[in-house]
Amino acid sequence: MSGPTLRTLFLAATLAFSAHAIADDDPRIERQDLMKSVREAAKPVGQMMRGDMDFDADTLMSSLETWLDVSTKFGGLFPPGSESGEETEAAPAIWTDREGFDKALAEWQTATQAAIDAKPASLEEARPIVGPVFNTCKGCHDNYRIEEE
C-alpha cells in the first residue's frame, strides 16, 4: 500500500473514531442514536405484522433483544443539562415527571421481556405479543416527546 493511501485511511479512521467519541460523550446524541436503532429494529417487525414480509422468528427475536437492551440503558441518558440543544425532542416532562418517565420505560421493558419469553413461532402467536410492545412506544412518545414540525 502506498503512503498517501495509508495516511488517508489513518486520517479517516481517526476522524471517525473521534466523531464517535464526541457523540458518545453527549447523551443527547447517544439517546438519538439509540432511538434510531429502535426504529430500525421496528421496521421488519412492523412489516411482518402488516403481512408485507414473511414471518421470521430470528429477525423478530433480534429486534426484541435490541429493544430490551435500549430499554435498560435509555433512562440513564437524561442528566441535568441535556434538556435542550442538538435538536432534542425530549419533553420537559422527563425532568418534571421523572417517576412517570421511568414507569413508561419499565412498561416497555416488561412488555419486551414478555415477548422474548413467549418465543412466538408464528405471525398468529406474535401479533398479540408484539402489539403491547408497540403500544408502549406510542404511550411514552405521547407524554415525553415533543412534536417538532
Binding site: 426504529r39 421496528a42 421496521k43 412492523g46 405484522m49 402488516r50 408497540f134 412506544c137 406510542k138 412518545h141 405521547d142 407524554n143 416527546r145 412534536e147 417538532e148 414540525e149
Partner: protein, 301 residues
C-alpha cells in the same frame, strides 16, 4: 327637518329587523326526522369516528383522558385559539350535560349548531362537518351517549374577544359557511363514498387539516392541504397526495397508520393526532381502507 328623521328611524328599524332575521338560529322541524330505531352499537362507532371524547372527555389530572375515562363526557377542556378561549361543555347524559334532551334537540345541536334553548353554538363545535352526516348516524350516536356515565358539573362559558363574543353574529357566519353538501362532489365507488362520509362528515378531518379564512370558515379550494395548528404551535400537515409528509404513502400505509399509530418509517403518531388515531383504531379495517382510499383520491396539492 321632521321627514329625514323619520326616514332615518325607519331605515335603522329595517336594518335591525333584517339583521335580527339574518342572524336568527334556524332549527330543523320535528317532522324532518326520519323514522329510525336507534342502534347503540352503530352509535358507538359514530362516537369514535366523531372524536367526541377527544374534546368532551374530562381531563384527568390535567392530562387527556385515556381508556375508560374517555367515556366520562363532563367537558372542561380549554381550547386556546386566536378567537379566544373556548371551554368544552359537558355532554354526558346528566342534567348538566345533555340529560333530558330530545332526539330533535340533539340533531339540531349536531347538524344545525343550535342549542335546545335556541342559541347558536360556536363552530369550535364542528357542526359544519357533522351537518354532512346521515341523520340516522346522529340518532344512533345519541343512543350511545345516553348509555354513558352521567357526569355532574357545568362548565363556564367561553371567553372570546369582540366581535366573536357576539353569539348572535354566528347566524350570519352560518349563512356563509354552514353547508350540508360534500366538498368532493363526485366519488367513483361505494368505498370512496364511505371514505368521504367518514372524512368530511363525522371524522371532521377538515377542521384541523384545512386552512381557514379570516372569519374562521374553511377554504374549500384548499381542502386538507394543511393548516396552522388551531390550538398551539406548529402546523397540521397536508394530507392530500401532494403532502410532503404523507404524499408518498400508499392506501395500505395510511390504513395501517390509522390502525396502529405507526408511519411507514415506524415512527409513531404524534401531537393532537394521537387521540384521533386511538379513536379511529376502533373502526373496522374496511372503514380505515375507505378513509385511505378517499385521501388518495384527492387532487394533489
Amino acid at each position: 327637518m321632521r321627514r329625514p328623521a323619520i326616514v332615518a328611524v325607519a331605515l335603522v328599524a329595517v336594518v335591525l329587523v333584517t339583521a335580527w332575521w339574518l342572524t336568527s338560529p334556524q332549527r330543523m322541524a320535528a317532522d324532518s326526522l326520519p323514522a329510525h330505531t336507534p342502534d347503540v352499537a352503530a352509535g358507538e362507532q359514530v362516537f369514535w369516528v366523531g372524536g367526541c371524547a377527544s374534546c368532551h372527555a374530562s381531563p384527568v389530572d390535567g392530562r387527556r383522558a385515556k381508556g375508560e375515562d374517555k367515556l366520562r363526557l363532563g367537558g372542561g377542556l380549554e381550547l386556546d385559539t386566536p378567537f379566544g378561549v373556548f371551554r368544552v361543555p359537558n355532554i354526558s347524559p346528566h342534567a348538566d350535560g345533555i340529560g333530558g334532551w330530545s332526539t330533535l334537540d340533539f340533531v339540531n345541536a349536531m347538524q344545525a349548531g343550535v342549542s335546545p334553548n335556541g342559541r347558536h353554538y360556536y363552530p369550535s363545535f364542528p357542526y359544519t362537518s357533522y351537518a354532512k352526516m346521515r341523520v340516522e348516524d346522529v340518532i344512533d350516536l345519541k343512543a350511545f351517549i345516553d348509555t354513558l356515565p352521567a357526569v355532574e358539573g357545568l362548565v363556564a362559558d367561553h371567553s372570546l374577544g369582540f366581535p366573536w363574543s357576539v353569539r348572535r353574529g354566528i347566524g350570519l357566519w352560518k349563512r356563509r359557511y354552514l353547508d350540508t353538501g360534500f366538498v368532493m362532489a363526485d366519488m367513483d365507488s361505494e368505498q370512496l363514498e364511505r371514505g368521504r362520509e367518514l372524512v368530511e362528515g363525522a371524522g371532521h378531518c377538515g377542521e384541523c387539516h384545512t386552512p381557514r379564512d379570516g372569519f374562521g370558515g374553511l377554504l374549500a379550494d384548499q381542502w386538507l392541504v394543511g393548516a396552522p395548528n388551531p390550538d398551539g404551535a406548529g402546523r397540521v400537515p397536508n394530507i392530500t397526495p401532494g403532502g410532503k409528509a404523507v404524499g408518498d404513502w400508499s392506501v395500505s400505509d395510511i390504513a395501517y397508520y390509522l390502525e396502529s399509530g405507526f408511519t411507514p418509517d415506524f415512527d409513531t403518531v404524534g401531537g393532537s393526532m394521537v387521540a384521533v388515531q386511538e379513536n379511529l383504531a376502533k373502526l373496522p379495517k374496511s372503514d380505515l381502507d375507505s378513509i385511505a382510499a378517499y385521501l388518495k383520491s384527492l387532487p394533489a396539492r
